[in-house]
Structure formats: C-alpha cells, structure tokens
C-alpha cells in the first residue's frame, strides 16, 4: 500500500506549537502529533476520517501538554 494525502500543519495548543502529520493508508487515516521543538511524537492516532484522526490527536496532545510547566 502507498500512503496518500500526506500533509503537515502547525497548530497552537494552549501556547505550545504542535505539528500534525496526517496521511491515508488504505481506508484508514493516520495522524501523529509532535511537539515541533524538539519534534518528539506525542500521540499517534488511527481513525476512519482525517477529521477524526486529527481532532483526537489534538485532544490527547492537549492533555499531555497541560502537564508541562513553564518555570521562568
């Protein structure tokens, strides 16, 4: 199978930059949310639609990012 409709976009989540990478493989959509800087993957989601994959990824990323404290 070949991945199709590959896309990347940056989204602001509560002041943190999140990079959403999405592609379709077969009849499923895969989304990874990473934290841009440094680029570590936060969540990976597989769903039936692009919208579902990206919204779930963002929701989970938001939860993880809420644990990070700014200290300066």
């Amino acid at each position: 199978m070949k991945p199709e409709h590959f896309s990347e976009r940056k989204v602001d989540v509560d002041g943190w930059q999140v990079n959403l990478t999405t592609y379709q493989l077969g009849d499923k959509w895969h989304t990874k949310a990473d934290n841009v800087s440094p680029g570590a993957a936060l969540v990976r989601i597989v769903a039936d639609t692009r919208e579902a994959a990206e919204s779930l990824a963002l929701a989970r990323a938001k939860k993880l990012l809420s644990r990070t404290q700014r200290r300066l």
Partner: protein
C-alpha cells in the same frame, strides 16, 4: 556544492527502494518504540525499539556487547551486512543506533536521508506486516567497544571546568534556558533546568531541511562554525537522553568530518540531577558574549 566528509553513510529513499530485497542489505526502522513501524514500514524492514532493544534495561547504558551481538544475529545481520537505518523524528533514534553500531565496530551502516517522514511524503510503499528475519547463520561478533565516540560524566565535568571542549546543547531553546525541564508533553526527568555552563545552543533540527533531509555541507559549516565548532577543539554534544545528540554527533562527525566529537548520552538527565553540578540558566548568547 561541496560533498559531505563521508557521503557513503547516507542513502536516499530511491536507493532504499531499489535495494530492499538485496540479500546483503538489512533495513531497520528505529524509534523509541515500534508504534510507527506497526502502522506501516519500508517493505522488508525490521524494527528496533530504543527503549527495550537498544538500551540495557537494568543499568542505564547502551547494550552490553553480548546483547548487542544477540540483537544483530537475531536481526539477520552478520559482520558484512549493509545496515540501513531510518526512523521518525528525522532519524533521531536511527542516529542513536548508528552511534551504537559504530561503538561496536560495524563497518557498513548507513542512514536513509529524510527518514520515515520523507518516505511517507513521497508516497512510497508501506508494508503493514512485520518482517520476521531469519537469524544470521554466522553469529555476529562485535568489536571491543570504541568509547572514544562517547563522553562520560567525568570527561564532561573536566571539559566544562577547563573550557577545553566546545559543548553543544542540541535541545530546544526552552530546555536550554531552563523554562521547561523536558520537551513539551513529555515526562520531566531532571531536578533542575538550564544548561551546562559555557554550552552553546544549537538545536538538532537546525541540521535538517523541511523534508527531513540533512542540510548541505556549506550550510552545516556556517551553523556549527558560528558556535565555535572546528577541528581545533574537541566537541561534546548533549541533549536530554542522548538520542538528539547522537543525531548532531552524526552530522558533525560524518557529514562535516569533525574528528574529535563525542556524544554525551548521560546528557541533561544525568547533569540536571547531579548534586552540586554547576547550572546556567537563560537564553543562548552569541559567541563572544561568554
């Protein structure tokens, strides 16, 4: 455009497509775990998980030699195999694996330029069935570990005190300054934030183009040269746990040809937990500002 110091350690996605079925080539996707691999991987590639297969899971260390040999043998890799590594996050953990393979003396190891990201963006074939390699018929024999590629804490402490090496902190500017203790969203693994006094801030990603490939040599020379990297002084790269810094170590040693560069894999998780270790806070200063 000038070429890299060791262009033979890089292959492009087209080369990998053409060689995935070669008997003497083993393609390995390396990541912190195998979640990305399980979604789909380069056909014929096997997976290595950094957290369980490339580290000693009891002592904080690289794999002991016997376990490294077992991993290679079970992966169908013999001493003459061409090992091609790739992964997510622009090859962070692939670079870690590269570093470890070089510590144990594997001759022919290469990185797929652009990693998983470029493979996906180009719409190349993905296989969703895990590859189960036949173990190598000849047991793998690692060399004695070459620890000249690695910095341990006492070496870094001495270098910091004497200002005898260029310390390159490859974490994000926010980690460098002490604003955050770990990459956003990830567990905090240190007690103190900031950086090793005197370290220069060169986030690892500065070495990469948007498509995940490495920048050309002249650009790399400008980026790292501006922070004091040259052949005249040893270089120590560090990050939080040593994987981002192995990426920079690869860039400096194999793409730029810096002779004396080591990866401090103890990194901030070690330094930022030490009682009494000197810590500097605040944003990066330009060279000359101290």
């Amino acid at each position: 455009m000038s070429t890299y110091a060791h262009p033979e350690v890089l292959v492009d996605t087209g080369w990998v497509t053409a060689h995935t079925k070669d008997a003497n080539v083993r393609v390995v996707e390396v990541d912190v775990d195998t979640k990305a691999y399980d979604e789909g991987h380069v056909p014929g590639a096997i997976a290595w998980a950094w957290n369980t297969q490339l580290c000693d899971t009891v002592v904080r260390d690289i794999l002991p030699r016997s376990q490294f040999e077992a991993l290679m043998t079970q992966s169908g890799i013999n001493n003459g195999t061409t090992v091609v590594l790739y992964g997510d996050n622009n090859n962070w953990f692939a670079a870690w694996a590269f570093w470890q393979l070089k510590i144990y003396g594997h001759k022919d190891v290469r990185i797929m330029d652009g990693g998983r990201k470029k493979w996906l963006a180009e719409g190349r074939d993905l296989d969703t069935t895990p590859t189960k390699p036949a173990p190598s018929a000849t047991p793998y024999q690692a060399s004695e570990p070459d620890y000249s590629l690695r910095a341990y804490l006492p070496q870094v402490q001495q270098a910091q005190k004497a200002a005898s090496a260029v310390l390159i902190d490859v974490r994000s500017p926010q980690e460098f300054s002490g604003e955050i203790l770990a990459p956003p969203g990830l567990p905090e693994t240190c007690q103190r934030g900031g950086h090793i006094p005197g370290a220069r801030s060169v986030p690892w990603g500065k070495a990469c183009n948007d498509d995940g490939t490495f920048k050309p040599l002249d650009e790399l020379q400008k980026i790292y040269g501006a922070e004091g990297v040259s052949q005249s002084k040893p270089v120590i790269a560090y990050c939080r746990i040593g994987e981002r810094s192995s990426h920079t170590w690869f860039v400096l040693k194999y793409l730029m040809g810096v002779n004396n560069v080591v990866n401090y894999d103890g990194s901030w998780t070690e330094w930022g937990n030490l009682v009494g270790a000197p810590v500097e806070k605040g944003a990066a200063k330009s060279v000359g500002q101290g």
